[in-house]
């Protein structure tokens, strides 16, 4: 399994989760977990997703999700989970 952490940060508007999830579904990315908070008035969501069934490589997903974020007006980041595991788990 290739786990990716997708984070979405920005002003809360209608349909953010819907648009991100639609993109992921179209590209065969399976969402394993979602958590969401509002930090200082900002919408803050994190998804753990499995990209192993997707036809697109990590680089393409990163680029397209960044572009989608710009379209919606939020910042979307898509990072390999290892950077967080390395930093926060011994």
């Amino acid at each position: 399994m290739k786990k990716t952490i997708i984070t979405v940060v920005g002003n809360d508007t209608v349909g953010i989760i819907a648009k991100v999830c639609t993109y992921l579904a179209e590209n065969n990315v399976n969402i394993l977990d979602i958590s969401q908070t509002i930090v200082q008035g900002y919408f803050n969501m994190m998804m753990i997703a499995d990209t192993s069934a997707s036809d697109k490589d990590q680089g393409t997903l990163v680029r397209e999700l960044t572009a989608l974020g710009e379209e919606i007006g939020v910042v979307i980041r898509c990072q390999h989970e290892d950077i967080f595991n390395k930093m926060h788990r011994i």
């Binding site: 930090v39 803050n44 994190m46 990163v62 680029r63 990072q79 989970e81 950077i83 967080f84 926060h88």
Partner: protein, 454 residues
């Protein structure tokens, strides 16, 4: 499973606190390029570098994008060229020709610096070593990306004072040869004592002869992350302070270790070391001086600075060592003046002098780094500065270095602008009393008594 707070913490470090991987440096041995025919030697060098490092920049960019961590520099270090050119080069100009080949190879594979235009002369100079050293002004003034370093001493061998004398002259000649660029050549020239073989940071990187054919070394950074972490423990005691630095250094180094392993796997090149250094940049909030101020100083350079720096350096190592399988290079806090906004401010405010910087180099990982001095400084005085630093390194069994820039045509109070990561610097005053008779003696300062450990 990773939670949203941990993810946010990491991303905050990257976006707001300037966490990055400072450099992926590929070390390439050129020993198998040696030939007595200069043209064949040049061709061998160019071919080996461009084939080994062909995918270096692309791989760095891919890793950066997939993990969402900036990787600022991709660089190359090579075997000290004095050794490689010994049989083919008959003049200093021959050596400078090799520097231009290194420059071309660096441009071909798009790395921003290539290090290893170097000579290791801690005990004595061969004719080849001396020829290379004398070619440095031409080499650095006719290339853009070549970095040069000379190791003039070590704890085991003592200090080669003939080389120290020569390097004072070479630094000044390099400054003159690049006077139309504010003596920028000297920013790419380091004089070492106890130079490490696996340092990934420029300008002092070279690929030591004890290394394998090709290796990946990674330098992490993160002064900003440490500074922000310390803001939350402003009133706390030293134990809490140390614990916070260690924990932060651990996290920063883990990212470096991850990038190093990934680069090593993708490039099919063995992983060498992670260098734990806190390397500042001129960006606001990416400063080692600001950490010292956060620890409790009004300005870097105030009494207490050396103690604060000693503590910082030690805690960075303690936190970082556990985070990596192999640690090496310089590993500690860098205190360059022009590359650190807090240091620049401290010099401007009159808080930080050359002498205090020298004291600080006793307890941190490098030496007098990126310090602009008046262009009228005599060569013997520069040699004296080099000898002092080398003595500190030799006696304390640590790496020390001198990278001073005598800015031709400028004096104390004026400012010199190097641009980019090299930053800008106010020109600092140098003690005007002469050391010429000391430097003129010639010969070697013997190794200290505590180097005899056999």
């Amino acid at each position: 499973m990773i939670n949203i707070f941990e993810v946010n913490e990491t991303n905050k470090m990257i976006e707001q606190e300037n966490l990055d991987v400072r450099t992926i440096t590929m070390g390439i041995s050129l020993l198998d390029c040696i030939d007595s025919d200069l043209e064949i030697l040049k061709k061998n060098i160019y071919n080996k570098i461009t084939s080994k490092a062909r995918n270096l920049v692309k791989t760095g960019e891919d890793i950066s994008m997939e993990y969402g961590i900036p990787i600022v520099n991709k660089r190359i270090s090579v075997t000290p060229i004095a050794l490689i050119g010994g049989s083919a080069c008959h003049t200093s100009a021959d050596y400078a020709g090799i520097a231009r080949v290194l420059d071309q190879a660096a441009k071909e594979v798009s790395v921003n610096f290539i290090g290893g235009y170097s000579a290791l002369v801690s005990k004595g100079m061969t004719p080849a070593d001396e020829m290379l050293i004398r070619s440095i002004p031409e080499a650095l003034s006719t290339t853009d990306r070549v970095c040069s370093s000379v190791n003039v001493g070590s704890t085991k061998t003592g200090i080669d004072m003939d080389a120290v004398k020569l390097m004072g002259e070479v630094v000044l000649e390099t400054a003159k040869a690049t006077r139309d660029q504010d003596s920028l050549g000297c920013a790419k020239l380091v004089v070492f004592c106890n130079a490490p073989d696996d340092n990934p940071f420029m300008a002092g990187a070279f690929h030591g002869v004890t290394e394998g054919d090709c290796v990946i070394n990674v330098g992490v950074s993160g002064p900003g992350v440490v500074k922000y972490a310390l803001e939350s423990v402003r009133e706390a005691d030293f134990e809490t302070l140390c614990e916070t630095i260690k924990r932060t250094a651990f996290k920063v180094t883990r990212v470096g270790q991850l990038v190093a392993q990934e680069a090593s796997r993708r490039l099919k090149v063995p992983f060498g070391i992670v260098d734990l250094s806190l390397a500042p940049t001129p960006a606001i909030g990416d400063s080692v001086a600001e950490i010292l101020e956060e620890i409790g100083l009004e300005k870097a350079g105030a009494p207490g600075t050396t103690a604060a720096l000693a503590l910082l350096n030690d805690q960075v190592k303690k936190g970082g060592v556990m985070a990596s399988t192999a640690v090496g290079g310089l590993s500690g806090a860098f205190i360059p003046v022009s590359e650190d906004q807090g240091m620049i401010d401290a010099v401007r405010a009159g808080a930080l002098s050359l002498e205090k910087l020298e004291a600080m180099t006793c307890v941190c990982s490098v030496g007098l780094d990126m310090i602009a001095i008046p262009g009228s400084t005599p060569a013997s005085t520069i040699s004296g500065i080099i000898a002092d630093e080398a003595a500190i390194g030799m006696v304390n069994q640590k790496t020390t270095a001198v990278r001073v820039i005598p800015v031709i045509g400028k004096g104390v109070g004026e400012t010199v602008e190097f641009g980019g990561l090299l930053g800008y610097a106010p020109i600092m005053p140098v003690n005007g009393f002469s050391c010429e008779r000391l430097i003129e003696r010639g010969g070697r300062i013997p190794a200290p008594i505590h180097s005899f450990k056999n």
